[in-house]
Amino acid sequence: MIELIKQEPGYLLADLQIDEANLAVADQFKTELIGLLDNYQRKIVLSLHQVNYIDSSFLGALVAGLKHAIAQKHDIILVGLKKDIRDLLTLIRLDKVFKIYDNYTEATSAL
């Protein structure tokens, strides 16, 4: 589900390869995300550019992953969000919790 695109000393670039980010895949996503954090011990820049649908279960898994990263003094940065998904994060103020950029280049420039 999460493909590792690039591994750098300070961060990973990763791509979420699903169209529908929902209850059915939330647990698996959380396990994979936490696995990446534990194995690589660095920030993750996660692209959601393939995601067209997202629900609260998946957002909960995403925040659980962020909390794991915070506990490790790392971070999860989101890129490539479709407009309505970004608007949803804004609606429930998750745009204040996650760093969000348009693409990998913008995100890595800010790291």
Binding site: L59, V63, K67, L88, L91
Partner: protein, 172 residues
């Protein structure tokens, strides 16, 4: 804007149906196409319906129905099911007449009971968000509360029926 009253059956224990979601959104687009904030209406409808569909699959025993109504400048989504009644946590009171459901670094979600209906409301915390292990992980009720202009829950004990009703006002 046309009058709409269409009901969809959602069988539980099924995979989330995004085809059904798209059908619902197409129905809304076709009937509120003249609204000046059509994009906002569709955005809010998408996430209210997504959460109602997720709730149907996650919590219910048996089947659920989601009805979409457009009448009197109100777009209303009504989900009914015969699962267990909703149990809300109680995190405190506001001035003695509202019950806090959740309170976290970002929001206070609270309810106010009027007759047999439990209305949901939300306040944003003005303080800086604290980034720690207490960040919330449950957003379903919050999304519907913030996306809808009115959101309530009711339980009919005689018919053992849960009703969630979320409305978007179209008058602007």
């Amino acid at each position: 804007m046309g009058l709409v009253n269409v009901s969809y059956e959602i069988r539980t224990s099924e995979k989330m149906s995004f085809t059904m979601l798209e059908d619902m959104l197409t129905l809304i687009k076709n009937n509120v196409s003249g609204h000046k904030h059509i994009d906002d209406v569709i955005f809010k409808s998408k996430y209210i319906l997504t959460e109602m569909l997720t709730n149907a699959i996650k919590h219910d025993h048996g089947s659920s129905r989601i009805k979409i109504e457009i009448a009197n400048n109100i777009l209303r989504f009504v989900k009914t099911d015969t699962g267990k009644p909703l149990t809300l946590p109680k995190a405190g009171d506001i001035n003695g007449n509202a019950t806090i459901v959740t309170a976290d670094t970002m929001h206070i979600l609270y309810t106010n009971k009027q007759a047999e209906k439990i209305f949901f409301y939300c306040k944003e915390n003005v303080d800086a968000i604290v980034m720690n292990h207490r960040l919330p992980e449950h957003f379903g009720l919050l999304i519907i509360t913030k996306a809808a202009d009115e959101f309530f829950y009711a339980y009919n004990a005689e018919e053992q029926c849960n009703t969630f009703s979320a409305s978007i006002y179209l008058s602007d």
